[in-house]
C-alpha cells in the first residue's frame, strides 16, 4: 500500500517535470554532450562532414600551447574579474552608505535614476557607449577633447585602453544591482551602524571595516557570488565594444567566452572551440563546487 503510493508519487512528479526536462535536455544537456563529442574531432570549416575523431589534441592545444590564445584569454578574464569585483564592491558599498545617510531627502529619487543602467537593455547600452561616447570620429568624448584643443583618440584600438573602456562600461552596467543589494543589506541593519556616515569622516571608515562590513557580509554573499560568475562569464561588453564579427576595433582582448565564440564563428575551428567550451564549463563547475564547499564550511564554523 505504502509502496504503491510512493510509486504513484514518483510517477506524478516525473510526469510534471517531464515537459521542462525535455526542453532542457534538448537545448542544454544534449548540446553540451554534442559539444564534448565535437571537441574530440577535427571538425572545422573544411571538414564539415568528413571530420574524424582525433582524441584530446584540441585540449592539448588549448591548455599547453600558449600561442593558441586560450591561456591569454583566461589570464585576461581572471584580471578582468578581480578588478571588476573589487571596484564594484568598494564603489557600491560607498554609494549605498552615502544613500543611507539620514536626512538625505531625495535618496529614493537618486536611487531610481541610478537604476537606469540596470533597466536598459544591456546590448543597447553597450552599443550606445561604443558609438555615442567612444567612437573615434563622432563620439562625445572625442568631441570634448577636440573642444579642449586635444587630439582625438581611437579608444578601442589598443589593448590597454580598450580594456579600461570595457571596464568602465561593465561597471556602469553592473553597479546598480550591487548597489541595490548593499542598500538592502544596510537597511536590514540597525541604523546606528551607518548613520551620520558623511559627517564622521574617518570614524566612518573604521566603523565600516570593523562593524558594518562583517555584519552585511552574509547578506550580500549570494549576490556577490552570482556577480562573480557573471563577471567571469562576461561576453556582451567585450564582444560588442571590440570584437563584433566584421567590425573588430583592433584591440586584441578576449574573455574566455568571446574567445570560444571567436574560434567557432570567426576562425571556424569547431573542434578546438568545443574543447575550449568544455574546459570553461569544467572550470565553472569546479568553481561552483568550491564555492558550495566554502560556504558550507563558513556556515558550520
Amino acid at each position: 500500500m505504502h509502496r504503491s503510493k510512493n510509486l504513484k508519487n514518483a510517477l506524478m512528479a516525473w510526469t510534471s517535470l517531464s515537459p521542462a526536462l525535455i526542453f532542457i535536455g534538448l537545448i542544454i544537456l544534449f548540446p553540451i554532450g554534442y559539444t564534448f563529442y565535437i571537441s574530440l574531432t577535427n571538425m572545422n570549416i573544411f571538414n564539415w562532414f568528413d571530420f574524424r575523431v582525433v582524441g584530446l589534441g584540441n585540449y592539448r592545444r588549448a591548455l599547453f600551447v600558449f600561442d593558441s590564445g586560450f591561456l591569454r584569454a583566461l589570464w585576461i578574464t581572471v584580471i578582468w574579474t578581480i578588478l571588476n569585483m573589487v571596484l564594484q564592491l568598494v564603489i557600491a558599498f560607498v554609494m549605498a552608505s552615502l544613500l543611507n545617510v539620514q536626512k538625505l531627502k531625495y535618496a529614493r529619487v537618486y536611487k531610481t535614476i541610478l537604476m537606469f543602467p540596470w533597466a536598459m537593455p544591456g546590448y543597447v547600452s553597450i552599443l550606445l557607449w561604443r558609438h555615442g561616447i567612444f567612437n573615434a570620429q563622432f563620439g562625445l568624448l572625442n568631441q570634448w577633447l577636440y573642444q579642449l584643443g586635444m587630439e582625438p583618440r581611437r579608444w578601442l584600438a589598443d589593448d590597454l585602453t580598450a580594456f579600461v573602456v570595457c571596464m568602465i562600461v561593465n561597471l556602469w552596467l553592473a553597479l546598480p544591482f550591487m548597489m541595490m543589494i548593499m542598500d538592502g543589506a544596510l537597511k536590514s541593519l540597525d541604523k546606528s551602524y551607518y548613520e551620520s556616515a558623511l559627517i564622521d569622516g574617518a570614524g566612518w571608515f573604521t566603523r565600516s571595516v570593523r562593524l558594518t562590513i562583517p555584519a552585511i557580509r552574509p547578506i550580500i554573499a549570494p549576490a556577490v557570488i552570482i556577480t562573480l560568475f557573471t563577471t567571469f562569464k562576461q561576453f556582451d561588453v567585450i564582444y560588442l565594444m571590440t570584437q563584433q564579427v566584421g567590425a573588430q576595433t583592433g584591440a586584441n582582448i578576449h574573455t574566455v567566452l568571446t574567445y570560444a565564440y571567436e574560434s567557432a564563428f570567426v576562425t571556424r575551428n569547431y573542434g578546438y572551440s568545443s574543447a575550449v567550451s568544455i574546459i570553461i564549463f569544467a572550470m565553472l563547475i569546479a568553481f561552483s563546487l568550491l564555492v558550495t564547499v566554502l560556504r558550507k564550511r563558513g556556515q558550520s564554523a
Partner: protein, 282 residues
C-alpha cells in the same frame, strides 16, 4: 558649538546632494546623449559644438526609423517571440517546480543539483552544437527554432526560481484543500498560483526581458530579414558604421528601450520578493 555642528551637517548634506545630482547626470550621459542626438536637427558631428538640449529639434530620425526601417516588423516578431516564450516557459516550469518543491521522489536532489550546475552554463558555449543540431531539422532561421532555444535556456531559471518560491509557501494550505477532496491541478490553480503571484510575475518578466535583450543567438540563427527581432534589427543598424546613421540608430535605441524600461520600473516592487527566493538571478 552646537550651532556649528548643525551648520557643518547642513553643509555636508548640501554637498552630498550636489554629489548625487552630478553622479546621476554622469551616469545618464550615454542615454541623454542618444536622446539628444535623436532629436537633434544638426547631426552632431565632430567639431559642431554639442549641447544636451539641441538648438534645433527634429523628428526626422524617428521618422527614418519608423518608415525607412522595418521597425514594426521587428517589433512584431519580438513581441510574438517574447509572449510565446513566456507562455511556454511558465507552463512547463510551474508543474516542474511544483514537483520539485512538493514531491519527495528518487532523483529529486539530483535533478535539483543538476539544474544548479546548468544554470551556471553560458548558453554561448554550446551555440555551435545547437546550430549544427537544428540545421538539418530546418530550425535555423525559423521562429520555432529560436523559440525552443529561448524556452530551453530560461526553463532552468524558471524551475529554480519558482521552486524557491513554492518552498516558502507552507504546504499545510494545500493539504487542507486536498483533504477537502480537491485534485492536484485544482489545488495548484486555485491555491498555489494566486499565492505565488510575485514569483510568477518576476519569472515571466525575466523571460520577457531575456528574449527582448538576447541578440547573439538571434543574429546567428535569424538570417532572413523578415524574421529579424528588434535586437537583430538594431544590431544590423549599428553595424553599418556610418556617421549619418548614428542619429537614426540613437532614435531606434530609445524606441527599443522604452518598453523594457517601462516593464522594469513597473515590476520593480515584485523584484525583491519574487527573486530573492532561491538566490538565482537571470
Amino acid at each position: 558649538m552646537k550651532l556649528n555642528h548643525k551648520f557643518a551637517q547642513k553643509i555636508g548634506l548640501l554637498l552630498l546632494n550636489v554629489f548625487f545630482i552630478a553622479l546621476c547626470f554622469i551616469v545618464l550621459i550615454p542615454i541623454l546623449y542618444a536622446l539628444s542626438i535623436s532629436f537633434n536637427a544638426q547631426g552632431g558631428l565632430l567639431g559642431s559644438d554639442f549641447r544636451f538640449i539641441p538648438r534645433a529639434f527634429t523628428l526626422d530620425h524617428y521618422r527614418a526609423v519608423l518608415v525607412d526601417q522595418p521597425l514594426f516588423l521587428w517589433f512584431g516578431n519580438t513581441l510574438v517571440l517574447a509572449f510565446s516564450a513566456v507562455g511556454v516557459a511558465l507552463s512547463v516550469s510551474v508543474p516542474g517546480a511544483y514537483a520539485l518543491s512538493r514531491f519527495r521522489f528518487g532523483g529529486r536532489q539530483k535533478v535539483f543539483s543538476g539544474l544548479l550546475l546548468l544554470h551556471a552554463f553560458p548558453a554561448i558555449l554550446s551555440m555551435f552544437a545547437i546550430f549544427r543540431l537544428l540545421s538539418p531539422l530546418g530550425l535555423i532561421n525559423s521562429r520555432m527554432g529560436i523559440l525552443i532555444i529561448y524556452v530551453g535556456t530560461m526553463t532552468v531559471f524558471g524551475l529554480l526560481n519558482l521552486k524557491g518560491y513554492f518552498d516558502s509557501i507552507p504546504i499545510e494550505i494545500e493539504e487542507s484543500a486536498a483533504m477537502d477532496g480537491a485534485g492536484m491541478w485544482h489545488t495548484i490553480k486555485s491555491i498555489l498560483l494566486p499565492l505565488a503571484r510575485p514569483a510568477l510575475i518576476v519569472t515571466g518578466v525575466m523571460v520577457m526581458i531575456f528574449v527582448w535583450n538576447e541578440y547573439i543567438y538571434a543574429i546567428t540563427f535569424m538570417t532572413g530579414a523578415s524574421n529579424y527581432t528588434l535586437a537583430v534589427g538594431l544590431y544590423t543598424l549599428q553595424a553599418t558604421e556610418m556617421t549619418g546613421s548614428w542619429p537614426v540608430f540613437a532614435a531606434a535605441s530609445i524606441l527599443v528601450s522604452l518598453p523594457i524600461l517601462f516593464i522594469f520600473f513597473a515590476t520593480q516592487k515584485y523584484m525583491t520578493t519574487g527573486l530573492t527566493a532561491g538566490g538565482v538571478k537571470g
